[in-house]
C-alpha cells in the first residue's frame, strides 16, 4: 500500500542544513496497522508528514496505492491527498464550523452533492459514535470527542490510508484506549491501512501489527510488534520496552504518567 524508498529530508537552519530523515525505507501492507515509534525529535512527525507531502522530501520517493505522490503537485496532489486521511495530536478542528460542518468539509472539497454529503456525514458520525453531536461546535466537546470528529473528518471521503500523527498523545489513558479501539474497529470494518506514529509502547502493543523504530532520523529496527517487544535490538526499542516492563505491574495511574 505504501512504499517509501531512500527518503531524505533536511531543514535549513541558521547553523546550516540539519538532517531530519536519512535514507528511510518502509513497506506497509494494505490493511495493516503500522506503528512508527521514537523519542521526541527522532523525526517521526516529519516522516508521517512526508507520506501526504505536507512536507516535501528532498530526495527519495513515496508511493501510496501505487501512485508516486512525490511526483505530484497542484491538482494531482490534491486529488491524491483525498485518498489519504490524517488525524492530528491537536485535533485541528475548525472552530467556526459545527461537528457536521467539520465532517462535511472534505466532502464539499471533493464535490459531493448536498444530499450525498448529508447521508455520508450521518453514516460516519454513527461509526465514530457521535450521531447526537452533529450541531455542536468543537469547543463544547471533550478531547476524546474532538478526536472522534477528527477521525470522522479524515474518513469522510473513504480514503485508503489513515495517517495518525500522535493522535492519542493529548488524551488521558482511558480516552486513549477508546480511540485506539475505534481505530482498530475502523481498520477491520473498512479495511483501511493505518500508519500511526507514537512515543507510547502501549499504543504499539495495543493495535499495531508491524512497527518501525526511528532514532536520530533513521529507521533502526522494524518488524512485527511482538519481535520488538521480546527481542528489541536498537537502543530506543530497548529503552521503550524497559520503561514499559518497569511500569507494567504498577497501578495504571502511575503507568499512565510515565507513558505519557
Amino acid at each position: 500500500m505504501i512504499a517509501v524508498k531512500h527518503l531524505n529530508k533536511s531543514y535549513a537552519t541558521r547553523a546550516g542544513q540539519v538532517s531530519a530523515l536519512q535514507d528511510i525505507n518502509l513497506h506497509i501492507e494494505k490493511g495493516e496497522i503500522f506503528g512508527i515509534i521514537g523519542a521526541s525529535g527522532a523525526g517521526k512527525s516529519t516522516l508521517i508528514r512526508c507520506l501526504n507531502l505536507l512536507e516535501r522530501p528532498d530526495t527519495g520517493s513515496v508511493e501510496v496505492g501505487g501512485v508516486a505522490i512525490t511526483d505530484l503537485k497542484g491538482k494531482q496532489l490534491r486529488l491524491a491527498r483525498r485518498r489519504i486521511g490524517m488525524i492530528f495530536q491537536q485535533f485541528n478542528l475548525l472552530e467556526a464550523k459545527t461537528v457536521y460542518g467539520n465532517v462535511a468539509f472534505p466532502l464539499r472539497v471533493a464535490g459531493f452533492s448536498k444530499p450525498e454529503t448529508k447521508r455520508r456525514v450521518a453514516e460516519i458520525l454513527e461509526l465514530v459514535g457521535l450521531s447526537d453531536k452533529a450541531d455542536v461546535y468543537p469547543s463544547q466537546l471533550s478531547g476524546g470527542q474532538k478526536q472522534r470528529v477528527g477521525i470522522a473528518r479524515a474518513l469522510a471521503v473513504e480514503p485508503a490510508v489513515l495517517l495518525s500523527d500522535e493522535a492519542t498523545s493529548a488524551l488521558d489513558p482511558q480516552t486513549t484506549h477508546s480511540i485506539l479501539e475505534l481505530l482498530q474497529d475502523i481498520n477491520r470494518k473498512l479495511q483501511i491501512t493505518i500508519v500511526l506514529i507514537t512515543h507510547e509502547m502501549d499504543v504499539l502493543r495495543h493495535i499495531c501489527d508491524n512497527a518501525a523504530v526511528i532514532e536520530g532520523g533513521r529507521i533502526v529496527e522494524s518488524g512485527p510488534v511482538e519481535q520488538l517487544f521480546y527481542r528489541p535490538e536498537s537502543e530506543t526499542a530497548k529503552q521503550f520496552v524497559n520503561i514499559f516492563n518497569y511500569y507494567k505491574d504498577g497501578n495504571t495511574q502511575e503507568k499512565a504518567v510515565i507513558m505519557r
Binding site: 501526504n52 505536507l54 461546535y137 479524515a154
Partner: protein, 222 residues
Amino acid sequence: MKEDMVELLWTGLQQTLYMVAWSSVFALLLGSLLGVTLVVTEKGGVLPAPRVNGLLSTAINGVRSIPFIILIVLLLPLSRLIVGTSLGPTAAIVSLSIGAAPFLGRIIESSLREVEPGKIEAAKSVGAHPFTIIAQVIIPEALPALVRGMTIAVISITEFTAVAGAIGAGGLGSLAIRFGYQRFRTDILIGTVLLIILIVQILQWTGDYVSRAIDRKRCKSE
C-alpha cells in the same frame, strides 16, 4: 451657545458619518485584499510567492510611513481625477480609503496569522484548494479577531476624517477647526469633541458586541 450650533453640528455629523462609512467600506475591501495576500504569499503560506510578498510589504510600509495629512495632499490630484474635485467629503473618501487601506491590511494580516497552522494543514490534508482554504478556513477561523481589528481600524478612520477636515474635507473635524479654533467658538469645539467621542464609543461597543456574539455562537468562553 448660538442658534446656528445645532444645525452646524448636525451637518458636520452627517458629513463625518458619510466619510467614515464609505472610507471604511473601500479601505476594508482594499485592506482585505492586501492582508489576505500578505498572509497567503509568505513563505510556507497556502500560495507562497515570496517576491510578491516582499514587494507588497515594502509598498505598504512606504505608504504607512507618510504622515496622513501629507498623504491627503499627495492624493488630491487622484481625488480630482476620480470624483472631479479635491474639496468636500466625497473627495476626502478617496484619500481616506487609500490612506487607511495599508493600515487595515496590516491589521487584517495580524488577525489572520492567529489561525493555528494545524487547521490549515488539516484542510490541505483533505486536498482542499488554496482558495477554499482562504475562504473556508483562514477567514472564518479568524473572524472574531478580524472584527476586533476592524473596529480599531474604523475608529482610526474616524480620527483621520478629523485630520482631513483641516484641509477642506468637511465634517466635524473641519467644524472644530473653522469655528472652534479660528473663530473662538468654544461651544462648537466642545460639541464636535463630544460627538466624536460618541461615535467612537458606539463603534467600539458594536465591534465588541459582534466579536463576542461570534465567540458565543461557537461556545468559546473568553
